[in-house]
């Protein structure tokens, strides 16, 4: 969409991540400016999820640095509870808390973690639920919702914390095709509002529409970082070409 003054929110420098002996991320360098939408593409198993999980403190890293607003997240004494309020994350498998209603799911973080006033959060939640068209499902339990509905709720839950950056990990990958659209529309709406986002997806046309910048990863390494139109018409690397070809019949 549109880039604002180059204020760097998130900076990844020389990130190195191993599971046991297997290197999963190898010298990853990436910076994300405020208001920027970065889409990560790459074949299955190349380390996309792992990268997002590192940015949310769900994985330990073995080298390099991650900086949020120029503060290192690699320090031992980093307070992840604090950081996670600013870096929201939505997973592939719509992990709503199964024992709570929709509204309880949404309120938990803002009320218990951020100690905000319940009524104020409720108002915000209502607005957001309305925006994703699910205000009437507020008292439902997750088991009563479709995959697409759960995923939209999961997005609302993350948004209600007022994060500065949102991480999306293949949020439409487990959805039936007819539900993909409703979720992608929500994310597109966020992009229009200027939300800073890091998105992993396999929906190429969506990627092209939403991204300011495409990052292509293969085997744990960033192969290229390009402008979306350029990436889809003239990918710089052979690997990216090969990747794109696989999506064409």
């Amino acid at each position: 969409m549109h880039k604002e003054a180059n204020e760097v929110l998130l900076e990844i420098k020389g990130l190195f991540k191993k599971y046991d002996d297997m290197t999963v991320l190898d010298d990853v360098n990436l910076s994300i400016n405020k208001g920027e939408v970065v889409v990560i593409l790459g074949p299955s198993g190349c380390g996309k999820s792992t990268l997002l999980r590192c940015l949310n403190g769900l994985e330990k890293i073995q080298g390099g640095d991650i900086r949020y607003r120029n503060k290192s997240l690699v320090d031992k004494d980093v307070n992840w509870q604090e950081i996670r309020q600013h870096i929201g994350m939505v997973f592939q498998n719509y992990e709503l808390f199964s024992h709570m209603t929709v509204i309880e799911n949404i309120l938990l973080g803002p009320v218990k973690v951020q100690k905000r006033d319940k009524n104020e959060v409720m108002e915000q939640a209502n607005q957001l639920l309305d925006r994703v068209g699910l205000l009437d499902r507020k008292d439902s339990y997750p088991r009563q919702l479709s995959g697409g509905q759960k995923q939209r709720i999961a997005i609302v839950r993350a948004l209600c914390m007022n994060p500065e950056i949102m991480l999306f990990d293949e949020v439409t990958a487990s959805l039936d095709p007819e539900m993909v659209r409703e979720v992608l529309d929500v994310i597109l709406g966020l992009a229009k509002q200027g939300m800073t986002m890091l998105i992993v997806t396999h929906e190429l046309s969506f990627a092209r529409a939403v991204a300011d910048k495409i990052v292509f990863i293969d085997k744990g390494k960033i192969c290229e970082i390009s402008d979306p139109d350029e990436f889809f018409t003239h990918p710089k690397t052979e690997r990216a070409q090969h990747f794109l070809n696989k999506f064409q019949y």
Partner: protein, 221 residues
């Protein structure tokens, strides 16, 4: 078939008192079992060093020895080394020793059913460890455990029928005495069965109701 109704009426007070004793034993036994079980399962879940081994040994010991032997050990064995406990104390300790391991298993299976993704989802909205346990892990674990917890409660209440062996005047003991003294075998046994039913049925109904209530959110009806 002729029942001796007079005998039944006459022995009612005895049964009532014994039923009361059984209920009291059952109540304390279940309560302590729940506490022991909960603590043990926490130790296992968080893999607390040293304590973990102790809990494992306790569970094996408790599950693989008969309650009767446990009671004999407490009642007769401990006297030999100078620790004299009352019959009631022995009965309650015995029941709790047995029930604790069963409850531990029930709670543990609940904890283990909480998926890693639910936990990560909690972490990603910034919950602290304690908040995570309180708002996510415990409620979910509990709704998985509750059927086995309920079954254990009933099992323990029934298991009280064995404490007569160490001279606690419970229902079983009263029945045996009455049979021994008056030979009204059928009447005595009939009353025994009816009273156990009267105690256990309501408990069972309450537990079923509780189970449905707790499990509604996650599992529906």
């Amino acid at each position: 078939m002729n029942l001796n109704w007079q005998f039944i009426i006459d022995s009612l007070p005895l049964y009532r008192e014994a039923a009361w004793t059984t209920l009291k034993l059952g109540f304390w036994g279940i309560l302590f079992s729940l506490m022991i079980g909960f603590i043990c399962s926490i130790v296992l879940y968080f893999k607390v060093k040293v304590l973990k081994t102790i809990v494992h040994i306790y569970i094996e010991l408790s599950r693989n020895t008969p309650l009767l032997i446990q009671l004999f050990f407490l009642y007769f064995g401990l006297t030999k080394v100078g620790i004299a406990l009352t019959e009631t104390a022995c009965a309650i300790i015995g029941l709790s020793f047995l029930g604790g391991s069963y409850m531990a298993e029930a709670f543990r299976s609940g904890f283990e059913a909480v998926s890693k993704t639910q936990i990560e989802s909690g972490l990603s909205i910034g919950l602290s460890k304690t908040q995570l346990v309180r708002y996510v892990v415990l409620p979910q674990a509990f709704s998985v455990s509750i059927p086995s917890i309920g079954a254990n409660c009933i099992f323990l209440l029934k298991e009280t029928s064995i404490v007569g062996a160490i001279a606690v005047v419970d229902l079983m003991n009263v029945t045996k005495d009455l049979i021994g003294m008056y030979y009204q075998t059928l009447e005595a046994l009939l009353m025994l069965v009816v009273i156990y039913l009267v105690m256990i049925l309501p408990l069972s109904l309450i537990l079923t109701w509780l189970e449905r209530k707790v499990r509604y959110a996650e599992f529906g009806n």
